[in-house]
């Protein structure tokens, strides 16, 4: 059963991956972390906002799509919200399968779709006091398009 969590609290990637190991041959995990700079400027924090209800639904739909497109035994998305300082974990996408290809591809799919299709918004607060809302980059849309054009 795919699991989806949206919460302010931090998560434990090791414990989550261990939970996916039972009965699997392959477990793949991706952890996204707040970087210390953006566009060459030093970041004080990232603030993540979501749309309660809609966001959880969108992530569940995404996890469901991954379970259908690849032979997965399990699938997990954890996404944090609120104020996150550099070095903090933002997101975990993890999948379990019998064979490695399914887990690796499905994890990349989840991360690419999270960038463009999950109802989250990010504000970058820089140490110089300036703040800016992040717009999705062209590269993110290109990464997502990979999965639309070519089925597994």
């Amino acid at each position: 059963m795919p699991r989806v969590i949206v919460a302010a609290a931090d998560f434990d990637p090791g414990a989550e991956l261990a939970r996916l190991e039972a009965g699997a041959g392959a477990v793949s995990g991706f952890v996204g972390i707040v970087r210390g700079e953006s566009q060459g400027r030093t970041l004080a924090a990232l603030t993540l906002e979501h749309y309660p209800g809609m966001t959880e639904q969108a992530l569940a739909a995404m996890a469901g799509t991954a379970m259908t497109r690849w032979r997965l035994l399990d699938c997990l998305i954890i996404h944090r919200i609120g104020r996150l300082e550099p070095g903090a974990r933002i997101v975990l996408a993890a999948t379990a399968s019998a064979h490695r290809g399914d887990a690796l591809e499905a994890t990349a799919f989840l991360i690419d779709w999270l960038k463009t299709d999950a109802p989250f918004w990010k504000r970058e607060d820089f140490i110089d006091g300036h703040s800016e809302w992040v717009a999705p980059r062209d590269a993110d849309h290109a990464a997502r398009a990979r999965w639309v054009l070519s089925g597994p």
Binding site: E49, Y51, Q57, F120, W121, A135, P136
Partner: protein, 83 residues
């Protein structure tokens, strides 16, 4: 009808939520955005860059020409950036 604002829309308007009863002439999401832009100078600022604003009807992502129908919750927000 409940209207929700996210990210820089919410910041520009100064709060997260309006409850309004739009006139009968407002039948689509685009027309609703137009109507909301006229509510206050803050709303006008928030809705100025209309091309950058996306919408959801009852938590379903929809294009601007979508009829409002019996929607109870309409949300306006910039493009998503998760992950």
């Amino acid at each position: 009808m409940k209207i929700l604002y996210f990210a820089w829309l919410r910041e520009r308007i100064g709060y997260a939520e309006d409850t309004i009863d739009p006139p009968a002439s407002v039948t689509t999401v685009a027309a609703l955005a137009e109507f909301l832009a006229g509510l206050s100078p803050a709303h006008a600022r928030a809705f100025a860059d209309r091309g950058m604003i996306k919408a959801a009807l009852d938590q379903q992502f929809v294009p601007p020409e979508t009829p409002l129908g019996n929607a109870r919750e309409v949300a306006f927000f910039p493009p998503f950036t998760g992950g």
